[in-house]
Symmetry: C2
Subunit: 146 residues, 2 copies
C-alpha cells in the first residue's frame, strides 16, 4: 500500500462500551489509510463484539495499545459512543504530547460530550453530520489547518 | 460533619455518558463520607441529567475537576456505565500518582470491562453484586488491605 504521507495513526473507538458504530469505524479506518498506517485497525473489525478481543489477555491488550499510542504521530478518537477505554486513551495521548482530534456524530440539541473532552484546550473536538463531512474534518486536521 | 480519617476523595461516575446509575452514585457518595470529604458530590445529584451541569461552562468544569483530582488523596471510579469522562479522569489520576479503585457491578458471564482498566497494573478493579459488598470493598481499600 502507498501512503500519501506515512503518518502513524492511533484510531480509538468503543469496543467493550458497545459496538453500535463498528461499521462506521471500519469506514473511517479505511479512509484514514489514505493518510498513513492505522495501528489500531482491529477497532473496525466487525467480527469483534463488545466482549472484546478473545485471543489475547487484558494485560497484553493494555501493553500493546500503550505501545501503539507511544508510536503514533496522531490520535483520532471517535467519541459518539461513550467508552471508558477511549477516554483513557485520549488522556494518555495527551500526556504523551500527541496531536489529538476527537470527532462526534452531531448531537441532539443540548446533548453534550464530556467536559473532560469538550472543555480541554489540548483536544480538537469536531462534530459531523455524515461521513463526507467527517472525511473533510480529517483531511483538514492532517493538513494542520485547525 | 466528623470524618473518620479525613481523606479527600474524588468519586468518578458517568454524567453525560448516561445517568442510569445516578441513584447508586448518591448512595456510594453518602457511604464514602464515612471516610472523608467527597470532592465530586454533584456526581450523585439526581437533578443533574445526562446534559450535565448547566450553570458552568465545559472549560470551567474541566479546570475544576482537574484541580479536585490533584487535591484528592484517592480516586474511586464506578465504571459500570461506559463513560468517556470517567476513563479520562482515571488516566489523569494515574498520571498524578493517585491510588485508584475502580468498582463495577458484577458483569454477565464473559462481559468485560475495558482492557485499559482491567489490564492496567496501577488500578485495583473489583466487582460487586450489591451495595453491601461494594461498601466492604471500599472499606478494605481505605485500609489499604489490597
Amino acid at each position: 500500500m502507498r501512503y500519501l504521507n506515512n503518518m502513524k495513526i492511533y484510531f480509538a473507538g468503543s469496543i467493550r462500551g458497545g459496538r453500535d458504530d463498528s461499521e462506521k469505524y471500519f469506514e473511517i479506518i479505511n479512509y484514514l489509510k489514505k493518510h498513513g498506517e492505522v495501528l489500531t485497525e482491529h477497532v473496525g473489525d466487525k467480527t469483534i463484539s463488545e466482549l472484546g478481543e478473545q485471543s489475547i489477555s487484558a494485560e497484553e491488550i493494555y501493553d500493546r495499545d500503550l505501545n501503539w499510542l507511544r508510536e503514533a504521530d496522531i490520535v483520532i478518537g471517535e467519541v459518539s459512543v461513550p467508552s471508558l477505554g477511549v477516554g483513557y486513551e485520549i488522556a494518555k495521548a495527551e500526556k504523551l504530547g500527541k496531536r489529538i482530534l476527537c470527532v462526534c456524530q452531531k448531537l441532539e440539541e443540548n446533548k453534550k460530550i464530556s467536559a473532560m473532552i469538550k472543555g480541554n484546550k489540548n483536544i480538537i473536538l469536531k462534530e459531523y453530520n455524515n461521513l463526507s463531512e467527517l472525511f473533510k474534518i480529517i483531511d483538514d486536521f492532517m493538513l494542520n489547518s485547525f
